[in-house]
């Protein structure tokens, strides 16, 4: 593996090249450079994470796992890679499959973290399955994709935690809406609980609530009263929660019949026949 100094130098150089390409308006070059840059950054992050893991593995869990209070503390953090933890905490807080963007919004507002960017979350998903293959018992939890109720294939964006019940990891057609409403409810609850004195904390949550509440029906404009927003979200959730559960439960048996890996990460779909073969 390349040395950290070499990597940093290359990242700097690539950034300069990217800026030049941007100044020239050369989109093709920018796209190409960006790919190299992302690869280099990933490599650097891996070096950092390895260093962190080897330094901290014997010690008890530290931030940001300890920053949150509540049920998260019962899960020991063994190899604290921070983005991974932020994802798990967001998913546990909201209690529904979320997409990387939602996880980022929640992490920024609630924990003021900036590491759970959509990109980090997407690459996390791939890494988790690889890690599971190497040792299924190596981690206390794995970040998994939600599983489509009909095809049992991994959903494109929604994420779950491996320790959840099977039925909570299944994605019904209602689930994206349910997850959004639950995120609204979690934000409203967090605004209510948050002491107004906390520096900036509450403001961030209020901004998130206002943003999330905008597409909800029957709300006066520019209103982010957590009680009112919560009520609207709750009443819509009540209309669809049962149907959502029914659909997810109906797939449980089929999911249980899959292999352990497919039960967690979904089954890949294949194209079985092409018309040419029959012609």
């Amino acid at each position: 593996m390349e040395s950290i100094e070499g990597l940093s130098a290359r990242i700097n150089q690539l950034q300069n090249e990217a800026n030049e390409a941007l100044a020239r308006g050369d989109v093709d070059a920018l796209t190409r450079i960006r790919e190299h840059l992302q690869a280099a950054e990933r490599q650097r992050n891996r070096v950092w994470e390895e260093a962190l893991a080897s330094a901290s593995s014997p010690s008890p869990p530290h931030s940001p796992g300890s920053r949150a209070e509540g049920p998260e503390e019962s899960l020991p953090v063994v190899t604290p890679t921070t983005a991974r933890d932020a994802v798990r905490m967001a998913l546990t807080d909201v209690g529904a499959p979320l997409d990387p963007k939602q996880i980022q919004l929640w992490g920024t507002a609630k924990y003021r973290t900036s590491f759970a960017t959509s990109r980090a979350v997407y690459s996390l998903r791939r890494d988790e399955q690889r890690a599971w293959r190497q040792n299924p018992d190596g981690r206390f939890f794995y970040i998994c994709p939600a599983i489509s109720h009909d095809t049992l294939a991994p959903a494109r964006a929604a994420l779950t935690v491996s320790t959840w019940d099977d039925e909570d990891r299944i994605l019904s057609p209602y689930t994206p809406r349910v997850a959004y409403l639950k995120l609204v409810l979690a934000t409203a609850a967090a605004v209510k609980e948050c002491p107004a004195a906390g520096p900036g904390d509450r403001r961030q949550l209020e901004v998130l609530l206002a943003k999330l509440a905008r597409p909800l029906p029957n709300l006066p404009p520019r209103l982010a009263d957590p009680a009112v927003v919560g009520e609207v979200a709750e009443s819509e959730l009540a209309l669809i929660a049962t149907a959502d559960e029914d659909i997810r439960r109906a797939s449980l048996e089929r999911l249980a019949a899959l292999s352990d890996e497919q039960r967690l990460f979904g089954q890949p779909l294949k194209v079985h026949s092409t018309s040419r073969r029959h012609a």
Binding site: Y174, R177, L216, I240, P268, L269, S275
Partner: protein, 375 residues
């Protein structure tokens, strides 16, 4: 020859040039020039015409600025974030979508790992499965279909189109949703931008109607009004309206009837003809073997080869290279040399052109009298 074989031939013809996926904009624009076989064949072969134009030495300026594209993508993701929250909110306003009707299906990439045309075909099948579930009035069928793929028959060949979204609820029609990033300012839209948007919506609606017809459903189930979602004023807050596309639909159907059929294209594509990214001369020769019909309208209809065809027309001395008014003025005489010869000699090639010849002589006299041409 089967359709598959013709597709393979088209792919071989494309050679090592990059492929592009057709979209509603290019389909609608191509129908503006129904008599150009060159454009039809190149588009049927998914040739990246802007790349080809660059090879041929007549590049066109970038069709869309990267900033506009970025804004478009940003706006679409803003509309669709949080489980289509804004999309659902706008649908509730425009088509009275009931509150519980929020069943979402993401068709934006096929779950099986495929690429290119194969992927589009597979996604079209997945869309059909979702549509038949929807039209069977299954209470749990997804009713907001994200990035559905429908197909349109153009002269017997199939074009796959990716829709922004489709929406439906029990007892109602199926709506096409189009997300556009041009702003609605003070409830006003720039008509220059609205017209192509309406046209594109009509292409989507037509392809959805055809898809339903192929599935054995009535095309009447598709609403002829499309839901248009645009940003309000200068930020990315969505707002929406419905677009009546009936007039555009009629126009499109007429143009589709005139489009060249596959068998005609097959006959025009010489066996063994290929394009090559490395060999410009070879490329130009290959393109010249495809008959074209350059008109100044080609420039407006977004054909990337328009500059190339115009320069060929100019080299060949065709009146059309001088613009529509000139071409119309000279009627059936379409070479510049012939026009000049008529002006000099006053001899009309046929009795239909006698008036034109008389006009030309008169103009020549005036021109000389004014001191022109006295070199």
């Amino acid at each position: 020859m089967s359709t598959d074989e013709f597709e393979a031939r088209l792919e071989a013809f494309r050679g090592d040039l990059p492929a592009v996926r057709p979209n509603a904009r290019t389909v609608a624009a191509a129908l503006d020039t129904p008599d150009c076989r060159r454009r039809r064949i190149l588009e049927a072969a998914s040739v990246d015409k802007s790349e080809l134009a660059r090879h041929l030495g007549h590049p066109i300026p970038a069709a869309q600025s990267p900033f506009a594209l970025r804004r478009g993508n940003l706006f679409e993701s803003a509309v669709k974030e949080n489980g289509d929250a804004h999309l659902i909110a706008e649908l509730r306003k425009q088509i009275d979508l009931p509150i519980p009707a929020t069943r979402h299906k993401d068709l934006s990439s096929s779950r099986a790992r495929t690429k290119g045309l194969k992927e589009m075909k597979l996604r079209a099948k997945e869309t059909q499965a979702a549509l038949s579930l929807l039209l069977s009035e299954d209470p749990y069928a997804p009713n907001v279909l994200d990035h559905a793929v429908t197909s349109l028959e153009v002269g017997g060949s199939t074009v796959y189109l990716e829709q922004d979204a489709l929406a439906h609820y029990t007892g109602n029609k199926l709506y096409v949703v189009e997300i556009k990033s041009f702003p609605v300012i003070n409830n006003q839209v720039d008509p220059v931008k609205l017209r192509p948007a309406t046209r594109q919506a009509a292409v989507y609606i037509l392809s959805l109607q055809q898809t339903l017809a192929r599935m054995g459903h009535s095309p009447e189930k598709v609403a002829t009004d499309a839901v248009l979602i645009c940003p309000r004023n200068y930020d990315l807050t969505p707002t929406s309206a419905t677009l009546d596309t009936r007039q555009e639909l009629r126009g499109l159907r007429r143009q589709l009837d005139r489009a060249a059929s596959v068998s005609e294209l097959e006959a025009l594509l010489p066996q063994g003809l290929t394009l090559s990214a490395a060999d410009t001369e070879h490329c130009a020769e290959a393109v010249e073997q495809l008959p074209n019909a350059y008109r100044p309208a080609c420039l407006d209809s977004g054909c990337e080869l328009a500059y190339y065809c115009r320069s060929r027309a100019r080299d060949a001395g065709e009146t059309v290279a001088l613009g529509t008014p000139v071409r119309q003025a000279f009627g059936p005489v379409d070479m510049i040399d012939d026009v000049l010869a008529m002006a000099d000699s006053g001899i009309a090639p046929s009795r239909y052109e006698q008036d034109l010849a008389a006009d030309l002589i008169h103009m020549q006299k005036l021109y000389r009298a004014a001191g022109g041409g006295a070199a």
